[in-house]
């Protein structure tokens, strides 16, 4: 649901209140009627759902750029999906003020049988960008992707590098107020990586609010003025990037040591 209101720089660009996302484990992935029946017949064993995000509460003000870090499976990508409107929160509420653009995994929704140009227009239509606007940006997108005559060939003839370049070029051909970035940055060859890094920097400079999900701690300290650490769907820390990164690394180290200890114990019991 989108309503229009006068822009107000005093209101936060992103507001998340008591956010919770619950996954129903019975419904995940390619169920058939038979499985549902057999599940219903079987006793309820184990958990039927889990919270990918729980009690997540934060806001991003104008001019802030927030890095979301955490171990695998902490709920970082789910958080981005909620902010982008892809997943409805099971609990709580999210309010996004401004034009939102998400640079999630590149090249999602490419159609292998269509040409590069047609894929650009299709992607624009999926993202809800006006067709006139998209055609106006077309030359820029094509130029930035820099894949030569392949732009008129079917996408299935592209190399994976070319695919990634086109994807990046489409995803960043926007001027959003709120930018959501998943770790997609290291693609293509050296020169394209340099170019794409520059483009991201430009976007970050222009956007009013940014949420960046990354495993690259380098990016956190360069681009963000705030960081949030997620663990098992909960916010563990929120504040100065350097401090939060340090805490994250501490936790990672601790869990690595714990794992090693566990493994050593197993080895010992194996010997004894």
């Amino acid at each position: 649901m989108t309503v229009r209101a006068a822009a107000d720089a005093t209101l936060p660009a992103i507001e998340a209140r008591n956010l919770g996302v619950r996954y129903n484990l019975r419904l995940t992935r390619k169920t058939t009627v038979r499985q549902t029946f057999s599940q219903a017949l079987r006793r309820r064993e184990g958990p039927t759902h889990f919270w990918a995000l729980h009690d997540v509460d934060f806001q991003v003000d104008h001019g802030e750029s927030l890095a979301v870090i955490g171990p695998n499976g902490a709920g970082k990508s789910t958080l981005l999906q909620v902010l982008a409107g892809i997943i409805e929160p099971s609990e709580g509420r999210v309010t996004m003020r401004g034009k939102v653009s998400s640079l999630l995994t590149l090249g999602a929704g490419f159609d292998p049988d269509l040409t590069g140009i047609d894929n650009i227009l299709l992607a624009g239509a999926f993202m809800g960008i006006e067709d006139r606007e998209m055609r106006r940006r077309l030359p820029d997108i094509v130029e930035f992707a820099d894949i030569g005559p392949f732009i008129d060939a079917a996408l299935k003839t592209y190399s994976s590098g070319m695919r990634a370049r086109l994807g990046f070029s489409i995803a960043t051909a926007v001027d959003p107020d709120v930018l959501l970035v998943d770790e997609v940055l290291a693609t293509g060859d050296q020169s394209f990586r340099e170019k794409s890094r520059q483009r991201i920097e430009e976007l970050i400079a222009a956007a009013k609010g940014i949420v960046l999900v990354t495993h690259d701690m380098h990016w956190v300290t360069i681009f963000c003025n705030r960081a949030m650490l997620l663990e098992q769907g909960r916010v563990v820390a929120d504040g100065d990037p350097a401090e939060v990164v340090a805490l994250h690394q501490e936790h990672m180290e601790a869990s690595r040591l714990a794992k090693e200890e566990e493994a050593a114990k197993h080895r010992l019991t194996g010997v004894l």
């Binding site: 649901m1 989108t2 309503v3 229009r4 209101a5 006068a6 822009a7 107000d8 720089a9 956010l19 996954y23 129903n24 419904l27 995940t28 992935r29 390619k30 169920t31 058939t32 009627v33 038979r34 549902t36 999906q81 909620v82 982008a84 409107g85 892809i86 997943i87 409805e88 929160p89 099971s90 609990e91 709580g92 509420r93 999210v94 309010t95 996004m96 003020r97 401004g98 034009k99 939102v100 998400s102 999630l104 995994t105 999602a108 929704g109 159609d111 049988d113 269509l114 047609d118 227009l121 299709l122 239509a125 999926f126 993202m127 809800g128 067709d131 107020d177």
Partner: protein, 291 residues
């Protein structure tokens, strides 16, 4: 950028909108994203037959060949008894095969339309309802191409059946479209949760075709139903009894269809469309999680 510019505010979560609002938002989605629908249809059509030698010629050949199969089959079966195989049987059958192909391909394509776009659904926020709509609309193009061999056939072999009523075909098609769209939207959503829908649909569609007056006429049904009243009930409830009779009236018999029947079907189809849109919109928020 100045503060006087309008800023879109999007809010997610908190409360479930009521049924009427959901239906309306589904219908606005379809209308406001018609450009996306158009691109999806174009993509679908350019893909169709792109790797065959005859390409789009298949759109014309397919219904003709299917007609041939049924004509041979029925002629062998009944040995050309004129009370079973109607006069000018090829045209008689063709008038039903053409709309049926549109219906069955629209349903079959819609079932896969949402799950096939799994990746983009997880990456971009857009109204998923355009996917089954596009699948249904694509079928119109095939249907329109099928009208070419129909007219050629009439001009070459059935000159005496040529009538002005051919121009009424689009009116019948509108009713069929409304009916198909509702079912397509429903089937596409359910298939996200139960991948059995495709298998079920294959058999249901086949049975449905044989239970509809496609290879035989409604008059022949009423002969049978004199002894078996339940047959009359099945045919009375079948929308394709009305649709096939209407197509056949304007194509084969050269008279206007029974407007009352079509009107009733149209109203019921719009109600069905509203219900199916509601179900779709209710299930839509879970798509990205389940896929």
């Amino acid at each position: 950028m100045t503060t006087t510019l309008d800023t879109p505010v999007a809010s997610y979560g908190g409360g479930r909108p009521n049924a009427l609002r959901l239906i309306l938002s589904g219908l606005t989605d379809i209308w406001s994203r018609r450009r996306l629908t158009r691109y999806l249809v174009q993509a679908d059509l350019s893909k169709h037959g792109a790797d065959t030698i005859l390409g789009n010629v298949w759109w014309i050949l397919d219904p003709l060949l299917q007609m041939g199969v049924y004509v041979v089959f029925v002629t062998l079966l009944v040995g050309g008894r004129s009370d079973v195989a109607n006069e000018d049987y090829p045209l008689f059958v063709f008038a039903a095969i053409l709309p049926w192909k549109w219906f069955s391909s629209a349903i079959n394509d819609s079932i896969l339309s949402v799950v096939a776009r799994e990746r983009i659904i997880k990456q971009v926020h857009f109204p998923k309802i355009v996917l089954p709509v596009a699948a249904t609309v694509s079928g119109i193009v095939n249907f329109a191409f099928g009208l070419i061999p129909l007219v050629v056939m009439i001009l070459l072999f059935y000159r005496d059946r040529l009538a002005w009523t051919l121009v009424l075909i689009p009116l019948v098609a509108i009713v069929q479209f409304a009916f198909t769209l509702g079912l397509a939207i429903l089937a596409s959503a359910i298939n996200v949760f139960f991948r059995d829908v495709g298998n079920v649909a294959r058999h249901v569609l086949r049975l449905w075709f044989y239970l509809s007056p496609a290879l035989y006429s409604a008059a022949q049904v009423s002969k049978v139903s004199a002894n078996h009243p339940e047959v009359a009930v099945v045919f009375g409830l079948n929308p394709f009894s009305i649709l096939f009779e209407a197509y056949r009236a304007v194509i084969y018999e050269g008279r206007p269809p029974s407007w009352a029947g079509l009107l009733v079907l149209l109203v019921l189809s719009l109600a069905l469309l509203a219900v199916c849109t509601y179900v779709f919109k209710r299930l839509e928020p879970s798509f990205a999680k389940v896929l």
